[in-house]
Symmetry: C2
Subunit: 224 residues, 2 copies
Amino acid sequence: MTEQTELRRLRVHESVEEKFPKEAFVEAFDDLDISTELVGDGESYEATDAVASFAPREEFLDAGWVHVIRAGYDAFDTEAYEEAGTPLTNSTGVHDTTVGEIAVGYMLSLARLLHCYRDHQNESEWYEPDYERPFTVENERLCVIGLGTLGEGVARRADALGMEVVGVRRSEESTSSVSELYHPDDLHEVIGGARFVAVVAPHTPETDELLSAAEFEAMRAEAY
Amino acid sequence: MTEQTELRRLRVHESVEEKFPKEAFVEAFDDLDISTELVGDGESYEATDAVASFAPREEFLDAGWVHVIRAGYDAFDTEAYEEAGTPLTNSTGVHDTTVGEIAVGYMLSLARLLHCYRDHQNESEWYEPDYERPFTVENERLCVIGLGTLGEGVARRADALGMEVVGVRRSEESTSSVSELYHPDDLHEVIGGARFVAVVAPHTPETDELLSAAEFEAMRAEAY
C-alpha cells in the first residue's frame, strides 16, 4: 500500500478456524483500538477497512485490505485483486522459528535415536543402541535446498549447533549461516556430499519434481 | 604427570567392551607407533607403560599410567593410586557434544511434540495437535544446574537456538552462554522461573538429593 489508511474496523472471517481457535484470534486484538468482529459468509465488505481470512471469498474484493493468515496464497486470485485495486497481503515468514526448530529437532532425533528411545519407552523397555549407531550432528554436513525465510531459519540453527551448512538457491545472494552456495544445476553433486538434506523450497511450477527418484539415488546411503 | 615418558606399550583391558567394541578400540591406535594389545584378567603390569580400562583391577597399580575410559572414576581407589604413585586419568569432557545434543534434542522434541508424531507414525495415523499445544523453544527460559563441561555443552546450544539460559553453580565464575548466574541457595527461585530445567551436575555427596519432591513442587506446572 502506498497510501496510509487508519485501521478502525477489522473483520475476521471464520475460516481462520482452520488454523486457530477463532475466538482467540479476535481476542488477540483486544489491546488495540480497533473494532474486531468475527464474520461468516454472506456479508458485504463495502465499509470494511480490512479482513483477515484463511480461505478466499469473492466479496472480499470490496474490502479496503485483505490479509491471508498463512504464507501460501495460491488459493487467492491475485489478478482479480490487482484489477480491483484491493491490496492483498500474506503471512510470509510466520513459520521461520517453527520450521527451523522442527528441522533441527528431527535431525537431532535421528542422530541421537530419540524416536527409538520413545518406542522402547512405550514398551517400558530399557534400550541401549549399538555403539556405532547414534552420532552427533556437530560437523555433519547439511544441505538446505531453498534459502527463503524458512531455509534461513533451518540453516541458522544448524550452523549454531556446529553443523557444516551448504545451500542451494537460484540467486547468488549469500547468507552467513551457509558456508558454500550452490546453483540448482549442481543439485546432485551437493546432495551427494551431505549427511542431511532439507528441502525448504515452495511448491511452484519451477520446483515441481525437483526431488524425485534420481535425487534420492544421488544421496549417500547413510544420509537423511 | 610431571615427568614425560615415552609411550611404547599400551594395554587395553577387555572391560572397555562395556562401552565400545574392544577390537575397534585397539585398532584406533593403528596409526600410532605404539604397540597396543587387548588383555584380559590375570596379567602382570610391571612392564606396561599404560593401560586403558573401563573397570578397576588391583594389578593396574603396577602400570606406568592408568587411564579410565569414562568420565566417572568413582569405581577406582584414588587413594591407592596416590600411595603407589601411579598416575590415574579419566575421560572428562568426552560427553560434551553428545549430552548437549541430546538435551537440546529432547527440548525441541517436547516443544514440537516430535514424540507424539512418532507414536502416531507407528499407528500410521495422521496427527494434528491442538493449536495451543506445540510451542517454540526460542525465548523460553532454560535453567542449567551445573556448568561443568556437560552443562556448558547444553547451555551453549540452547543459547544458540535463542533460548534464555540461566545457570546454577557454586562458583561465581560466569560463562558467555548464560545470561544470569545463581547460587544453589536460590535454586527454588530460579527453578520456578524456567520452562525447562536441565540437571547436569555430577552425583557426589554434595549433590545427593539436590532434586527431590520440593524442587519438583517449585517448578511451573508447564515446565519440563
